[in-house]
Symmetry: C2
Subunit: 223 residues, 2 copies
DNA sequence: GCATGTTACAATGCATACATAGTGAAAGAC
DNA sequence: GTCTTTCACTATGTATGCATTGTAACATGC
């Protein structure tokens, strides 16, 4: 490999694999033996194995004894359950952030992403829209002050990102979703924790319903 | 060691370490180098290391580079945050269970634990009370049908168990907590998902407040 | 006595070795 | 042609080896 002795090989393997999964470069259902992955990453099995254990804890991968690590494919009902969990948990991040009385800088960063979403919408650029949407949610999670919450929600966002990537071509409520973000932002700016929770929860619930409808309409069986 | 080639050494190490942490046999703040732990468990560093990585993902342990794995000690504010997360997430388990329309057997198992709590209360047996409380919550989690939820909440219950063990001598609201469980059980029996969520949420919120009061009153700095 | 520099040690991160046990293909029976 | 049995292979689970590097104790200077 050319670079990256930044920190540890485990961290590097974890980052690379996780990103690849998140971006669907390693598609759901992909499976390859550890030695092959190790070779591909240019390191020995040991750090790869440790990274895979972490990814398994994140629910992104399943270690199947004689067949190699498997990139998790979600069934429709698992997508539903994913949204159930996310709808319960992610809003607490908004609460935590609202409670911390976010400063102008923070708010303008978030506002920027919402602006990007609106622009992408005008441009008819679903890819760009999703990217901005993603950054918005990640920003909230990062600015919020509960590390445990961050640790638990972060992999959920990866899953959702994959699901949204897949269902992107069929989505038609992005206008509404963008407005959801604006409303949420206003609640955050007002330091209204309960309102922020409610808005984010509603947003994810709605998104979940929309995604489930697309899954049903397109007869998707795994994502 | 005498037994346990059941499955893998990693699984065995994970179970043993996790249980020891949960029961405070490995107290918060305990730290020992990997080789020492490996020796203690009668295996090489490799499976121990993999188990520790999982425990780290659970938030029970932190791998500190030159000082060995550290059993996490929670500061008071971390306990608060723990309850914030748990109050948001665990109620979804009750929802999931209520939605599944629990059968008589299920309900009588849960009812049994509540009965045990009441009896332990009469006997002035806080230890027994906590054990039954614990089984009740674990049973709900196990009966509920969202594996991801199980996976995420389970380590939280371990943390809470440790906290409750520590604060047990100072608790005086166990009567009320027992009633909370009865109410929750009734909602579950009625298949009332929203009611079940509300009750479990209220229960954990209340418990969290009680615990925080004890922490403040006793000036506990870590648990 | 306190601060700073030096050094031996030890824990980790990673690579490698190896036994075990499934798997899949090839070979053979019907 | 299909089913069964055998067998080589290969992926994993675990142990071990080893270089690196931070730590802490010691020594030295003030």
């Amino acid at each position: 490999m050319t670079a990256n002795q930044k920190s540890t090989l485990v961290a590097s393997a974890y980052r690379r694999l996780r990103t690849d999964i998140r971006e669907n470069r390693l598609a759901p259902g992909f499976q390859a033996p550890e030695p092959e992955i190790a070779t591909r990453l240019g390191m020995s099995r040991t750090p790869v194995r440790e990274a895979l254990i972490r990814l398994q804890a994140d629910g992104l991968v399943r270690l199947v004894p004689r067949h190699g690590p498997l990139v998790i494919a979600l069934t429709p009902s698992e997508v539903q359950r994913l949204y159930d969990v996310l709808s319960a948990l992610e809003p607490e991040a908004a609460v935590s952030l609202a409670d911390a009385a976010p400063d102008t800088e923070t708010l303008s960063a978030l506002s920027g992403y919402v602006g990007d979403m609106a622009q992408a919408l005008d441009r008819q650029d679903p890819q760009g829209w999703l990217a901005a949407d993603d950054l918005f949610h990640q920003e909230i999670l990062s600015l919020q002050t509960n590390p445990r919450l961050h640790h638990m929600v972060s992999p959920l966002l990866d899953h959702v990102h994959r699901v949204l990537l897949t269902t992107l071509p069929y989505r038609d409520q992005m206008q509404r979703a963008t407005e959801d973000h604006q409303t949420l932002l206003a609640e955050l700016a007002a330091g209204n924790a309960n309102g922020a929770r409610r808005e984010l929860r509603q947003h994810r619930k709605r998104e979940g319903r929309e995604v489930m409808e697309i899954i049903a309409a397109q007869s998707l069986t795994e994502l």
